[in-house]
């Protein structure tokens, strides 16, 4: 039985911390960021001029903007994150792999550890896996293509569907939105691009795995989903990362458009190693009678700042955010969500669950905004935090800006300690203290886990168990 918190971290690193030493990234540029580096990324990719300009403008915003210090953010200025000590672009293979046979052995081994081939055999409709900054494996089942669904990486999309990309790129999250959106806009690489045509319902979740595997490299993927009118898509993304000695930066941008009557669900499970800064901007624009859902699970990382937001732009739009955070020793999960009601009769639900242990810290940070004239808006926010010991911490920072009278807004928050009576009850049935605590924590997060595809639910429960081991007794 592992008993110390340090042992748990050690164990987790052992199980999820791998790294192929022989593997050599090609075209590995210098650390640090400059106009030259930004232009170089664009030139190396052979991008159209408008994207090159977009990147350079964004780089200008990045230089101008201060670090976030206001309401949004987990005090990143208190950390010693050196932006000059980071690789902004790493290209692991010269060409994008078309079939499994084209994939280099080292990368396959990493995918093996992630369980991708098996997962694919079982249920994948299309796999897109990001290894370092470039998509190396990409496969779409033929019938999806026949339906007109585009599922590719962002770089290929820019090449193959330039008009579609240009129409939406940076429109939901402008490059000057916040400092980290500027950074991503300047140096982005990879990410998923999905287009679902009118009325097409994708019958199974589309999945992508992301992975950081070069010390001190940033990962700046850019994901975009366009769900045309009446379409339906569930996109799932999971991340695990190995542990390195120096800090890593992950700063993604996700833009989603949910047109009239469409339904998009975006599920992320992230398990970054304890030294990763995870600073992500995610936003969805939801139109009339459409439904946009974020399911966001955050484990690991040193600091996560992530508040998926949903802009409800036309009557009848519905947004839902399920957020799950687990913080261990030395970790701060600053997560939550935003629902912006810009039209009448729009509805939203935010449900957040967090678990802190071993001195870990979780913060729920959320916003409900209702514009004047947005009558009949309904919104409920519920956040529950569970503390596993005395050293851990949980806070709630709900922001309510309601500029309309005719609305129904509910907010409930609870912070509870791992219950002595619940532990005693389970232990009185013969289960050890550690088993009992695991069971209670798994029960606590169950409302969110049950929304995940089965394989992810299993993986998440396993990750939670690894984090829980040795937390009591």
């Amino acid at each position: 039985m592992v008993t110390k918190v340090q042992d748990v971290a050690g164990d987790r690193n052992y199980k999820f911390g791998w790294n192929d030493p022989e593997f050599k990234a090609v075209n590995k540029p210098q650390k640090g960021l400059s106009e030259k580096v930004v232009a170089g990324i664009s030139d190396m990719k052979g991008e159209p001029a408008w994207m090159r300009d977009f990147r350079l403008k964004a780089y200008g915003h990045w230089l101008e903007r201060p670090m976030p210090t206001g309401f949004w953010g987990g005090n990143i200025q208190n950390y010693s994150l050196d932006f000059n000590d980071i690789y902004y672009y790493v290209k692991p293979v010269a060409e994008q792999g078309k079939t499994w046979d084209d994939i280099p052995e080292e990368i396959k081994r990493t995918f093996d550890k992630l369980g991708i081939p098996e997962a694919e055999r079982k249920f994948l409709s299309g796999v897109e896996a990001q290894y370092d900054s470039e998509v190396v494996y990409h496969n779409i089942r033929e019938d999806l293509e026949k339906l007109g669904v585009i599922f590719t990486d962002m770089d290929s999309a820019l090449r193959d569907y330039p008009d579609l990309v240009r129409e939406y790129f940076g429109k939901i999250i402008p490059p000057n939105d916040n400092k980290f959106a500027s950074l991503n806009s300047a140096v982005w690489s990879g990410g998923s691009f999905i287009y679902v045509p009118k009325g097409v319902k994708v019958p199974m979740p589309l999945q992508a795995y992301f992975r950081i595997n070069t010390e001190s490299m940033g990962q700046f993927e850019r994901t975009m989903i366009i769900a045309d009118e009446g379409s339906d898509i569930h996109y799932v993304e999971g991340c695990t990362a190995p542990t390195y000695s120096s800090d890593s930066l992950h700063s993604a941008v996700v833009e989603i458009i949910v047109k009239k009557g469409a339904h998009v669900r975006y599920t992320t499970i992230q398990n970054w190693s304890d030294n990763v800064f995870n600073l992500v901007t995610k936003r969805m624009a939801v139109y009339g009678e459409a439904v946009g859902e974020w399911i966001d699970g955050n484990l690991g990382s040193k600091l996560t700042m992530k508040y998926p937001s949903t802009y409800l732009l036309e009557p009848g739009a519905h947004g839902e955010i399920l957020s799950l955070a687990m913080a261990g020793p030395g970790q701060h999960q600053d997560a939550g969500g935003k629902c912006i009601h810009a039209a009448p009769y729009t509805t939203s639900v935010i449900n957040s669950k967090s678990v802190s242990k071993g001195g870990g810290r979780t913060s729920y940070r959320g916003q409900i905004k209702v514009y004047p004239g947005a009558k009949g808006v309904k919104s409920t926010v519920r956040c529950d935090a569970l503390l596993l010991d005395e050293e851990s911490r949980a806070d709630t920072y709900p922001l309510m800006e309601i500029d309309e009278q005719d609305v129904t807004i509910g907010h409930e928050a609870s912070v509870s300690k791992l219950g002595e009576e619940q532990l005693f009850y389970l232990m009185s049935r013969g289960m050890t203290e550690a088993e009992s605590a695991k069971m209670i924590v798994n029960g606590f997060v169950e409302p969110i886990v049950k929304e995940l595809p089965m394989e992810y639910a299993v993986e998440l429960n396993r990750l939670i168990e690894l984090q829980m081991e040795g937390s009591v007794g």
């Binding site: 005693f424 009850y425 013969g430 088993e435 029960g443």
Partner: protein
């Protein structure tokens, strides 16, 4: 320790003193349960019945300050609650706590695995579960619900008896498993207990009222008052309590307390 016939009692409590938050609640309780016996432990509210149950099971807030608790001759005081459970003690709680998100079926399976030391094959588990649900007239849907979450009073009590039936303890303490049940539910629970009692299962049946004792015949009846067992007798003692309430015993034991007790309305069920 022996009962004189050469066989060892299954469960013994010796001069047990228990404090909660430094307040002495039990002040020297003695109890000898022989294999297969059903003991009823009666007493007015606040006399310390649940304290005894929790202390036996090893609740961390109930501190044993003196005395011993022996299961099959082994002192369990140093054991954690889960070790006690695996060794064969069981407590059906007076107020079972809910554990949202934990599915009853998974919970039962994990508990059985812990108690037996090995996993039961799924089909065997299913079969045993179905039979027991049937015995206790519990809707099979029940196993998909979360542990005690949103259960009615009666459902909670039945769920406790269900767990007892599946875990097959050597000694089960049933803490007011009868209270809050309507007559049909009470009969079902009593039938369940009767079906399980025997050489394999000895019972300490804690009850405030004697009603359940019409259905589950005890071998021995004890009356607990103010942290001590003040009277022990045969099943007829329960009958006397029903007719006369607790007053007459307390009068013997602590005459000054009778008025207060009568005023509080405690006593035999009307």
């Amino acid at each position: 320790m022996t009962d004189g016939t050469g066989t060892q009692p299954i469960f013994v409590v010796e001069d047990l003193h228990v404090s909660v938050e430094d307040k002495p609640i039990l002040k020297g309780v003695d109890l000898v349960v022989n294999q297969g016996e059903v003991h009823a432990l009666m007493g007015p509210n606040g006399s310390g019945k649940s304290t005894l149950a929790n202390a036996i099971m090893g609740h961390p807030r109930y501190k044993v300050t003196q005395g011993r608790i022996l299961l099959r001759g082994q002192d369990v005081r140093k054991l954690t609650p889960d070790q006690r459970a695996r060794d064969g003690l069981f407590l059906a709680f007076q107020y079972p706590i809910s554990i949202p998100g934990v599915v009853m079926g998974n919970f039962l399976r994990s508990a059985m695995k812990a108690r037996r030391g090995e996993d039961l094959p799924v089909r065997e588990f299913r079969k045993l579960l179905d039979e027991t649900l049937d015995l206790l007239k519990i809707d099979p849907e029940f196993v998909r619900r979360y542990v005690n979450d949103g259960f009615s009073g009666g459902e909670k009590k039945r769920a406790e008896v269900l767990q007892m039936a599946l875990l097959k303890p050597d000694l089960a303490i049933l803490d007011e498993t009868d209270s809050g049940l309507d007559i049909d539910a009470l009969k079902t629970v009593a039938e369940g207990i009767n079906a399980l009692r025997g050489p394999e299962l000895s019972v300490l049946l804690i009850t405030h009222y004697q009603r359940i004792l019409n259905y589950v015949k005890p071998d021995i009846v004890h009356v607990l008052y103010d942290g001590r067992i003040v009277k022990t007798g045969g099943p007829e003692l329960a009958g006397e309590l029903e007719k006369q309430g607790y007053d007459w015993i307390i009068k013997e034991f602590a005459p000054e307390a009778v008025g207060a007790l009568a005023a509080s309305g405690a006593g035999g069920e009307a």
